[in-house]
Structure formats: C-alpha cells, structure tokens
C-alpha cells in the first residue's frame, strides 16, 4: 500500500460520472462508493483475514496482517455498507427482496408495481 499515485485512493472518492440509476442522494452515493471500494479490495481483505486466523503461522506475521487490516480505509469494510431504499434513500425498515423501505414497498405494492405482490386478506 505505498507509492506516489495510489490507484486505490481514487476508490474512496465519489465517481465523477453518475453510474447508478435510482433515487440519488448523498447517502446513496456514499453507500455506492463504499460498495465499490469493498468489491475492489475484498480479495486483499480475505487474504489478510486468512493470515490472521491461521494459528500455524508465526505470531509476528499474524499481528502484522491484523495491523494492515485495521489500517485499511474504512470504506473497504463490509460493515460500512448499508442497504438503503432505492426509491427514497431511507436507511431503516428496508425489505431486502425489494430494496425498498416498508412505506415505499407498501405504496408500490398497492399501486400494483410489484409483480406477484398482493395484499393478504382472509
């Protein structure tokens, strides 16, 4: 992780060109940036995690790997990623299958925009 022009550092900035097509907000953009950063560094993270968990390796190696892992950019962490509503960027009460908040889901379901979704009644 050294050198004059670190190619990874550009990952943590929002892309200049808008590449997503849903409700756009700074939260959505930030979350999308985090997702891309995680995708790009996932292999490296997993390699480091392997080194850390392998008890047959010398302790120094494992500690070094742990350090490198903790010093990686926050955006490369999967825990930073948050499922947000794609229709209004709400962060809570998201139905994973529809990528929508419960209210947006209700509105779309009642309007018949979601194939196969029907209001239960018995």
């Amino acid at each position: 992780m050294s050198g004059p022009a670190n190619p990874i550092s550009s990952l943590f900035r929002r892309s200049k060109k808008l590449d997503i097509d849903c409700f756009i907000n700074v939260w959505t953009l930030r979350d999308h940036t985090k997702r891309k950063a995680f995708e790009a560094t996932e292999a490296q993270r997993q390699a480091l995690r392997y080194l850390v968990r392998n008890t047959t390796l010398p302790a120094r190696t494992r500690v070094m790997a742990q350090l490198e892992l903790t010093q990686m950019h926050a955006y490369t962490r999967p825990t930073q990623i948050k499922n947000r509503c794609t229709m209004g960027t709400k962060g809570r009460g998201i139905l994973r299958d529809f990528k929508m908040s419960r209210y947006a889901f209700r509105m779309n379901a009642l309007a018949g925009n979601l194939p196969g979704v029907k209001k239960a009644s018995w």
Binding site: H32, K36, F38, E42, R53, T55, T56, T86
Partner: protein, 107 residues
C-alpha cells in the same frame, strides 16, 4: 466395547481421503474457512441499479438514422447560461496558471 483412539483416527483419515477434506485430528485453526468463503463483493456492488443509457449514448446509438432530436432540458440549460453571459453574470473562465497567493504583512 471401546474402540482404541488410533483406530478412530485411522477411520477419520480414510474419511478425509474419501471426501477430500483436510485431515486435522487436533482441530488446529488454519483459517481455511476464510478461504472457503465466497466473495460477496459483486453481489453487494450491484445493489443499486446501474445506469444503462443516457442522452448522449442514445443519440450516438441512433446517429446513423439521421433523426432530428430535441433535448429540452439541455437547451434550457444552454439558454440560461447564454442569458447569464449576456448580462455579464456568467461563470468565470478557468485559470491556466495557479492563483497568486496574497500574504498579509504582519504589523
């Protein structure tokens, strides 16, 4: 009737060979479970729907057909900018040199 441990270990070894798993009788943590995990990145990164087309790509796609098109929003924007410029209120031109920094003199 108890089975000797050595015999059980042999069985375990045979099992491992048969099902091509790692023989690890002492249960040492080798971190292999990390290597077995699938990569989640592609699935996570495709959460938000990607932008597939925009005005420009659409025009390029249909350029061989010689169609006349209007882009109202873009024209409005350009008109607005032209009006601003006419009033002398347009955005300044980009500077080519680095701006001169004025340092305040200490009294």
């Amino acid at each position: 009737m108890s089975v000797p441990r050595a015999r059980l270990l042999e069985l375990m070894k045979a099992q491992c060979q048969l099902f091509s798993t790692t023989y690890n009788p002492t249960g040492i943590r080798t971190g292999n479970k990390i290597l077995r995990q699938r990569l989640r990145g592609p699935a996570l990164a495709s959460y938000y729907p990607r932008k597939l087309i925009n005005d420009r790509s659409l025009l390029e796609e249909f350029s061989p057909y010689d169609l006349t098109t209007t882009r109202e929003e873009e024209e409005d924007r350009l008109d607005h900018i032209a009006a601003l410029k006419a009033r002398g209120k347009g955005a300044p031109k980009k500077k080519k040199e680095a701006p001169v920094v004025h340092v305040k003199k200490r009294k």
